[in-house]
Amino acid sequence: MGVRPDKPPGDIKLKRSTSHFSIEQNTSWLFTLPSLVLVGLFGIPILALVLSAVGKDFFKTILSTTALSALKLSLMTSSISVLLAFATGIPLAYLLTRRNFRGKAVLELLLDLPVVLPPSVAGLALLITFGRQGFIGSRLSALGIDLPFTTAAVVMAQTFVSAPLFVRSARIGFAGIEEHLVESASDLGANEWQVFYRILFPLASRAILSGLILTWTRALGEFGATLMFAGNLEGKTQTMPLAIYLGFEHGLKVAISLSVLLVLLSIVLLVVLRRLDQQNRIQPDL
C-alpha cells in the first residue's frame, strides 16, 4: 500500500529519536518551557471547566428542559449534516480524485474556503442567499418555503462549515489507493461503479470514517453561522453552542454543564478517531 498522506508523522518514532541526546546537554527546557505554556493554555481552562461543573448539580442542569432540548437538537441536526456531507461529499471527492476537468483548481479553492472563513461570514452569506430577500430565498419564498429561523437552516449552516472537512478526508482516502488496483479491476471487467463500490470505497473507508467524525464534531460545535442564519429558539434552532452562549447569562450553570457535556462528547469522538488512525498504521500494507 502506498503513501497515506492522511496520517500524521508517527509520533512514536519522534519520541525514540529524542533519546539519542543525553540529558547532560541540558537544553531540553528550551523545548519544554514553551510547550508547557501552550499545554497550560489548553489544559487549565478545560480542567477548570470540568472542575467547576462537578458537584454543582451537574445532572440536574443537564436534565433541565433547555439543556435537554439543546442536546437533542444538536445531535439530530449534526447527524443530518453528517449524512448530507456523506451523500454529497463522497461523489465530489471521487470526481476530484479520479477526474480532471476545467476549473478543478478553483473548485478546490472554493472547498477550502468554508474551513478558513469565520462562521459569521458563512451565516451572512447564507442569509443573503437563502433569506427571504435573498437570491435563491426570494424564489423559494414565492413557493412558500422560508428557510431562515428553521431547523433546516441549522442543518444548512452546519453542513456549510463542516462538509468541506469531509470532502478533504475522503479525497485523501481515495488518493492513497494505488492505481494498479483500479487497473487490474478494470482489466478483469469491472465497470466504474463496481471499481468504486468494490475497491475504492472499502479501501478509503477508514479515511472516510475519520472524515465523518471530524465533520460531526465540527457540525456539533457550529455557532456563528447558526446564530446568523437560523436564529435562536429553544427546541427549534437553539443548539448546544447557542444554549451555552445564552446560558452564559442565565447564571453560568447551564452553560458550564453543557460545555462539559460537549467536552466529554468531543473526547469520546477524538478517542475513536485516534484508534482509527492507529489501526490504520498497524494494518499491513495491501
Binding site: 433569506g131 430577500q133 429561523f149 446564530l227 436564529g231 445564552l246 452564559f248 447569562e249 453560568l252
Partner: protein, 295 residues
C-alpha cells in the same frame, strides 16, 4: 528591619487610600458640587483638564451604540490624547463579562437588573450609579412590510415571523412586560401574548440583531426600542400605547476597579452637558437632565 516593616505598612496604607472608589464622593454629591456653577457647562468643555495619553473603556448596552459612538468621538476631539474604547453588547453579556473580571471604567446598562447584579457583586457602589436616559419600546416592521402589518392587532395573525430579544436581554424582558400589559388591556384581549408569541421565530442575543434581521426583511416584525428606529431610519414602526408601554430607564455607573476616575467623570460630565444631551436626543433617547437627577 523595622524600617522595612514601616515601609511596607506605609505602602499598604497608601495603596488602600488610593483605591479608586474611596477617593471620590457619590455621583449626586459630585453633581451638586458641580451644579453650583449655575450656568450649564459650555458645549464641548469637560469638567477636568485631561493631559497625556489615556484610555477610557466603556461597556454600553447595544442600543446605545450610535449615540455613544458619536459622544465618544466628540469627547476625544475635546480631549486630545484621550482614547475612548467601547464594548457594545446586550447588557446581560456586559454585566457577566464584568463579573468574570473584564476591566472597564464605565458601564451603561439598558435596565436596572444588570446594574443591580454588579452592585450586589461589589463591582459598583450603589451611589456610583444613576439613571441618565429613558427609552421606550416600539414594534419595528421590515421596510417593504410584505405582511402588510398596519396595527398592533395584526401581530396576532398566524404565519407572521416575529423577532424579540432573548428574555435575558433587557429589551427581551421589556418586551415580555409590554406583551403582558397588552394582554391585560381589554382592547387587545387575553390571548394577545399567546398569539404573538406563537409567531416568534427567534430570540436574538441583543436588540441590534433584532433590528438587523427585520431590516433585512427576514422577519416581518420585531420588538425594539424607539431609538433603534432613528438609527435604522428606513424601518417602519408601530407605537405601543403609552398606557401599555414600559419606560426603560438606563443607568450608568463608574466601576470600582476603574483606574480612570477623572476621565470617567468627565465623560459623564460630557453626557450631561448640553452637547451630550443633544446627541442623545438626536438618536431618539430621552435624556434625564442634571437637574432631574439631583431632584
Amino acid at each position: 528591619m523595622r524600617y522595612k516593616v514601616i515601609l511596607v505598612l506605609m505602602t499598604v496604607l497608601l495603596l488602600t487610600a488610593c483605591k479608586p472608589g474611596e477617593t471620590w464622593k457619590s455621583i449626586t454629591s459630585w453633581l451638586s458640587s458641580k451644579s453650583d456653577l449655575k450656568t450649564p457647562l459650555p458645549a464641548g468643555s469637560t469638567v477636568t483638564a485631561i493631559t497625556g495619553n489615556q484610555q477610557l473603556t466603556i461597556f454600553a448596552a447595544a442600543s446605545l451604540k450610535d449615540a455613544f459612538q458619536e459622544i465618544g468621538q466628540d469627547f476625544e476631539t475635546a480631549n486630545p490624547g484621550v482614547k475612548v474604547t467601547f464594548n457594545f453588547a446586550g447588557s446581560q453579556t456586559l454585566s457577566t463579562q464584568i463579573t468574570l473580571g473584564a476591566t472597564a471604567d464605565v458601564f451603561a446598562s439598558a435596565n436596572h437588573a444588570e446594574m443591580d447584579k454588579l452592585i450586589t457583586g461589589g463591582m459598583v457602589r450603589q451611589d456610583a450609579s444613576m439613571d441618565f436616559l429613558t427609552n421606550r419600546l416600539v414594534v419595528i416592521l421590515s421596510p417593504d412590510n410584505p405582511a402588510k402589518i398596519a396595527t398592533l392587532h395584526d401581530l396576532t395573525r398566524a404565519g407572521l415571523k416575529i423577532l424579540t430579544a432573548d428574555e435575558t436581554v433587557p429589551a427581551g424582558k421589556y418586551t415580555l412586560e409590554v406583551l403582558k400589559k397588552l394582554s391585560a388591556d381589554p382592547s387587545f384581549g387575553d390571548d394577545f401574548i399567546t398569539l404573538v408569541l406563537n409567531n416568534l421565530v427567534s430570540k436574538e442575543n441583543d436588540v441590534k440583531l433584532v433590528v438587523a434581521k427585520v431590516q433585512l426583511g427576514e422577519a416581518d416584525a420585531g420588538f425594539a426600542y424607539f431609538s433603534d428606529t432613528v438609527a435604522a431610519s428606513q424601518l417602519k414602526f408601530l407605537e405601543i400605547p403609552a398606557r401599555d408601554n414600559v419606560i426603560a430607564r438606563y443607568p450608568i455607573a463608574f466601576l470600582n476597579n476603574s483606574t480612570q476616575d477623572e476621565l470617567a467623570r468627565s465623560f459623564l460630565g460630557y453626557i450631561l452637558s448640553p452637547a451630550g444631551q443633544e446627541i442623545l436626543k438626536k438618536w431618539g433617547f430621552d435624556p434625564i437632565s442634571r437637574q432631574e437627577i439631583l431632584s
